[in-house]
């Protein structure tokens, strides 16, 4: 239960593990999630369930146009409405810090004189009822004078193009060719032009990747409670509490220690909660009114309330010898960053450095840029720049193989990178890179039977393209098979100080040793809370582990992003456990050292609630060693440092670890109607060490399904003339249902990365990369069409686009 002062819906401590099973539940076991049953039964308290006595409801007024000067804002009528407690615009912001941003502080808390994208926050309202707040917001009169919209590279860099941001002063402006280009990263290695002369075939292609939404099911929401010391306590669903804090506090004019943050129940993230949404707005209204303020977006607003995956145009040239060895790759990746920077610079770094995929190529010429446009802002989403590139380079690999008359898998294996391969950035891959092996494994899996929709009882339309819509009983249906493999970096790159913090406490509770793990890690569904308990059991030999709710009373855990949390915060938990173990052993030596020579001489472990020697001899019960004392450590932990990429050549040891997955897609396409049923998406992935095999398979299946979504249905459609979003709803932004989700057999490899805790490798993103191009390849196989864009719509398969 939350303490007396905490709002309802605040997460409480969760103790996992039952007494009497001390040897169970360590790493490598599929312990069950403490939040699993609650989520499935609907009892889990999400941030949208928070409730506080006397709370007000916040509402945001958003721009109805994409690019316009704000001529005037009239809040009079809204303020006059009974039940309204506050209306705030840019002019009401309390300090001179009025912008925020993950890396570049270019995003206004509330629009200042101009809006740069459809749905930009213009004003905020607090009222005693959500409907009152909504109606009041609708009464705010905003007069716009519309400006021309920048929607793509051509309009962004045209002569005389209007600038999305004037007077840029960020650290990228010095190396970009145009102020409407946020960041540019070239990567040059070898001599691609020279190498091209050795090529027997050269294949060029242009590809288009649509705008994908994270589509997390729990919309943005949180509750800001003003505190007696003039500060505020924000209960929030986010991916990184301390990153939010760093951006929120200056806008409020408060020192960071007066902005307390507690992680509320998070309903999915996938990158969409890396940027702030309603955090500052709720705090501003709470401080202005002196009342707790809750804000919950609905689905419509959520589509405007977070960044999306960058749509991209990608231009590739691959060359290969007649024997099938790649000679060179040239590529140019144009990412549409939309109106604000968000994570775009880092996405550019990933797209460029991972731009040729998991292949060994000595001569490369890569360029990636992110545009500023008036389209919706784009930023982090699972796969983070590597997804768009993988879609294109894997299409290219199939094209080159076909040109050479080679089997596409054999061609990939021939060019697959391995441990020791040098990346385009000049960085050698210094841990296992089993790319060829992953391909071999997915290829070796048995294929699903042909005409699997037929049985003795007739046709099961659920197994056919169109499903329950009853469009085909087998007519027009052609099967296709396609392969893809991808490479994703793990952790924050390019010299970022990517650390985490863990506080671990060990004491006797109820006659039993218990470990308490306290981190600021955002549990967004990835299963970190399960893994932390497993690590503590393994390192400290206890059965019971209590996971403390995440908050800012402990140091930063970094972001739940970049497949990094099990590696980095898991590493921090492991490290703090080791430090606690040393302290416990010191305690034991002081108390019992004279009883047995092994206390001084032997390697000691904590196992099954006891101190044991590495030979297995029991020296003492932890209960006796600890007595009334509590041993506690809070420590930061870092992975190996990385370096920035050279701005001109892209050279540098920019990444700490790579993650690889391969997919084989089997699809059935109704070639007359252009409908697709993905029958199976087999995946093989190297995870280094599966700390929780069940969670690992879950991550791989989830990532695979998300990749399927952008292959055949998911796309935010932005009107190219107005830059307005046309389908901000789950009615028209389609995500896969269970009838769209195929069986996903998963083959998990565990080839240890000796640099990582337990040898583990980040898992969450790699499967999202190769899933999409595998499905596209399978559809191409079925239809013979070129299909250079994703998602594929029925129009593209029927010549009716």
């Amino acid at each position: 239960m939350p303490s007396d002062s905490a709002p309802l819906g605040t997460p409480s401590k969760v103790t996992q593990g039952s007494p009497g099973s001390p040897a169970q539940g360590g790493i490598g076991e599929s312990t069950l999630r403490p939040d699993g049953t609650l989520k499935v039964t609907g009892e889990f308290a999400y941030s949208s369930d928070l409730w506080h006595e006397d709370m007000l409801w916040g509402q945001i007024l958003r721009s109805t146009v994409a690019h316009a000067e704000i001529v005037s804002i009239d809040t009079g009528e809204a303020l006059a409405q009974p039940g309204v407690h506050a209306v705030m615009t840019y002019d009401d912001l309390p300090t001179e810090v009025r912008n925020y941003g993950l890396e570049v502080q270019d995003t206004p808390v509330l629009a200042h004189g101009k809006v740069r994208h459809h749905g930009e926050p213009v004003a905020i309202v607090a009222a005693d009822h959500p409907e009152t707040a909504r109606r009041a917001a609708a009464k705010i009169k905003v007069e716009y004078r519309e400006l021309p919209v920048i929607t793509d590279e051509a309009s962004a860099t045209a002569p005389g193009a209007v600038l999305v941001h004037e007077n840029r002063a960020d650290h990228h402006i010095g190396h970009v060719p145009h102020p409407n280009i946020l960041h540019r990263q070239p990567i040059i290695r070898g001599d691609a032009d020279e190498a091209a002369r050795r090529a027997a075939v050269i294949v060029k292609g242009e590809y288009h990747f649509g705008m994908q939404d994270q589509a997390f099911l729990g919309p943005e929401s949180g509750l800001a409670v003003p505190e007696e010391d003039g500060g505020v306590h924000l209960y929030i669903a986010t991916q990184w509490l301390h990153s939010d804090l760093r951006q929120i506090a200056p806008v409020l004019g408060l020192p960071e220690n007066k902005v307390r943050m507690t992680l509320a129940g998070v309903g999915g993230a996938f990158g969409g909660r890396e940027d702030l949404s309603m955090q500052i707005h709720a705090c501003l209204l709470a401080l202005r009114t002196g009342r707790p303020v809750k804000i919950v977006y609905n689905r419509f607003e959520s589509f405007f309330g977070h960044v999306h995956r960058h749509p991209a145009r990608l231009y590739y040239e691959h060359g290969a010898t007649s024997e099938g060895k790649l000679t060179h790759v040239k590529c140019r990746i144009v990412l549409d960053g939309g109106a604000y920077a968000s994570a775009s610079p880092a996405v550019v770094g990933n797209a460029s450095s991972l731009g040729i995929g998991p292949y060994a190529v000595d001569d490369v010429d890569i360029e990636a840029i992110a545009l500023y446009t008036n389209n919706p802002p784009c930023g982090a989403m699972r796969g983070f720049g590597a997804v768009q590139a993988c879609f294109a380079y894997e299409a290219q690999m199939d094209k080159v193989a076909r040109r050479l008359g080679m089997d596409p898998v054999a061609f990939r294996k021939l060019n697959a990178m391995e441990q020791g391969t040098v990346m385009p950035t000049g960085q050698p891959v210094d841990s296992p890179a089993p790319v060829a092996e992953l391909l071999r494994r997915v290829e070796a899996m048995p294929l699903p039977p042909e005409r699997q929709w037929e049985s003795s009882e007739g046709v099961d339309v659920r197994q056919l393209p169109g499903g329950l819509s009853n469009t085909s009983h087998g007519e027009g249906v052609v099967r296709g098979v396609g392969y893809a493999v991808g490479i994703k970096n793990v952790g924050f790159s390019e010299g970022f100080d990517d650390y985490s913090t863990a506080r671990v406490r060990m004491e006797v509770v109820g006659g039993e040793p218990v470990a308490v793990v306290h981190t600021a890690m955002a549990e967004v569904g990835q299963g970190g809370v399960t893994v932390h308990a497993q690590i503590a059991r393994t390192e400290l030999g206890v059965a019971r582990v209590t996971i403390h709710p995440a908050d800012t009373r402990v140091g930063s855990a970094g972001s739940t992003s970049a497949s990094r949390q099990t590696y980095v915060t898991g590493g921090a938990v492991k490290n703090s456990c080791e430090l606690v173990r040393e302290k416990v052993l010191d305690l034991g030596r002081r108390r019992f050292g004279t009883h047995h020579p092994a206390w001084a001489a032997a390697e000691l472990l904590l196992e099954g609630g006891k101190v044991v020697t590495d030979g297995g001899e029991v020296l003492a019960d932890l209960v006796d060693v600890l007595g009334d004392e509590a041993v506690e450590v809070e420590a930061e932990w870092r992975h190996r440092p990385t370096e920035p990429f050279d701005p001109r050549t892209g050279q540098g040891n920019g990444h700490v670890q790579y993650s690889f997955a391969a997919h084989r897609a089997v699809v059935e396409v109704d070639t007359e109607l252009g409908l697709v049923k993905v029958i199976e998406l087999a995946c093989a992935q190297d995870v280094g060490k599966a700390l929780n095999p069940l969670s690992v398979v879950g991550q791989i299946q989830g990532g695979t399904a998300q990749g399927l979504g952008i292959a055949v249905m998911e796309e935010i459609i932005v009107d190219p003339k107005t830059a307005k979003v046309r389908n901000p709803s789950f009615t028209d932004y389609l995500i896969p249902t269970i009838l769209d989700t195929p069986t996903i057999p998963v083959d998990v490899l565990e080839l240890a990365d000796d640099h990582a805790p337990y040898g583990l490798r980040g898992v969450g993103e790699a499967p999202t990369l190769s899933s999409t191009p595998a499905v596209l390849a399978a559809i191409r196989d079925a239809t013979g069409l070129e299909l250079n864009r994703t998602p594929v719509r029925p129009e593209h398969l029927t010549g009716t686009a």
């Binding site: 909504r134 609905n298 419509f300 007739g458 046709v459 099961d460 339309v461 659920r462 393209p465 169109g466 499903g467 329950l468 819509s469 009853n470 469009t471 085909s472 009983h473 007519e475 027009g476 007359e672 109607l673 252009g674 409908l675 049923k677 055949v712 249905m713 459609i717 046309r726 389908n727 009615t731 028209d732 389609l734 896969p736 249902t737 269970i738 009838l739 769209d740 719509r793 029925p794 129009e795 029927t798 009716t800 686009a801």
Partner: protein, 296 residues
């Protein structure tokens, strides 16, 4: 907003007469979405959930009188023999939860061109039983859809039921969406063979401002079937006739480009669906198909 809760059909009619702008609500699967999205703020909501008769159906001579609120889930379960086209259409409606709440009355009241029931009702030749304090009238389905989201109901009328002839021949229904379940129609097609009258009827959804029939295609096919003696000899319809029928169905569309699909695709897809559903129904008529595609 006032919430009117009549306890009986008579009270409901009286309330609608007194408040002609009142919006009837039964399953709420359309109305509540519109209210939640703030697309509509009716002065009065007229709750029909207490009127049990609307959830009943009965056989009346050769017809089924289907209460306006009978949920799609029950149509799928209980009326597959009598109303096979509508049962297939019901299968394609949204999700199981929505199918447990929504009924044909709501589809008719909203009269969206994308309503899943319309093509099946058109093909079956249904009649809408509209009632007011002034009395009852039967509106032929062909006259019911009068414009985009407009219908032939008078302001004081409520939909009591639809009357649909029990199928006298095979019926089919197909819908295209860009997802394999729970999707709004990009286009839909219903086809009913009526061997007793030796006629064929069609219904097209989401491919014109209103649900429409492909009358020219129907006339062509009816004539061709007569001419070939096919109703009697049960031969396979020649491919050129099937193709001509499909082309005429496609030509009956008057679609738009929108986020769900292009006009060109809709026309194309309706043609494909017309060809396939004709093949399925005719095969069935010939006694060769065994309930293909009718999954539990």
């Amino acid at each position: 907003m006032d919430f009117l809760r009549p306890a009986s059909w008579e009270e409901a009619l009286a309330a609608k007469a007194e408040h002609p702008t009142a919006v009837p609500i039964a399953g709420g699967t359309d109305v509540m979405v519109e209210i939640n999205f703030d697309h509509r703020r009716p002065e009065y909501l007229l709750d029909l959930n207490r009127i049990g008769d609307l959830y009943e159906w009965e056989a009346v001579e050769g017809s089924v009188r289907l209460g306006a609120s009978v949920p799609y889930a029950r149509i799928m379960e209980h009326l597959r023999t009598e109303l096979p086209g509508l049962a297939l259409a019901s299968h394609t409606v949204a999700s199981p939860q929505i199918r447990n709440r929504g009924g044909v009355g709501g589809n008719l009241g909203t009269a969206s061109p994308a309503g899943d029931a319309h093509p099946a009702l058109l093909a079956a030749g249904a009649e809408v039983e509209a009632e007011s304090v002034r009395g009852t009238r039967l509106i032929p389905i062909d006259d019911f859809y009068t414009g985009v989201k407009r219908n032939a109901l008078a302001p004081d009328e409520l939909i009591r039921a639809v009357r649909v002839h029990k199928a006298d021949g095979p019926q089919q229904y197909s819908k295209v969406g860009t997802r394999n379940a729970m999707v709004i129609a990009v286009c839909a097609f219903g086809l009913a063979l009526h061997p007793e009258t030796r006629t064929v009827r069609t219904g097209i959804g989401s491919a014109a401002p209103t649900p429409v029939r492909a009358r020219t295609a129907e006339d062509f096919l009816s004539a061709a079937l007569d001419e070939g003696g096919w109703w009697d000899n049960g031969k396979v319809i020649t491919p050129s006739v099937v193709k001509q029928f499909a082309d005429l169905c496609a030509a009956a569309c008057n679609p738009i480009d929108d986020v769900r699909g292009t006009a060109g695709y809709r026309r194309h897809a309706v043609g494909v669906l017309a060809r396939r559903t004709l093949t399925w129904t005719w095969d069935s008529y010939r006694g060769t198909a065994q309930q293909k595609g009718m999954v539990a």
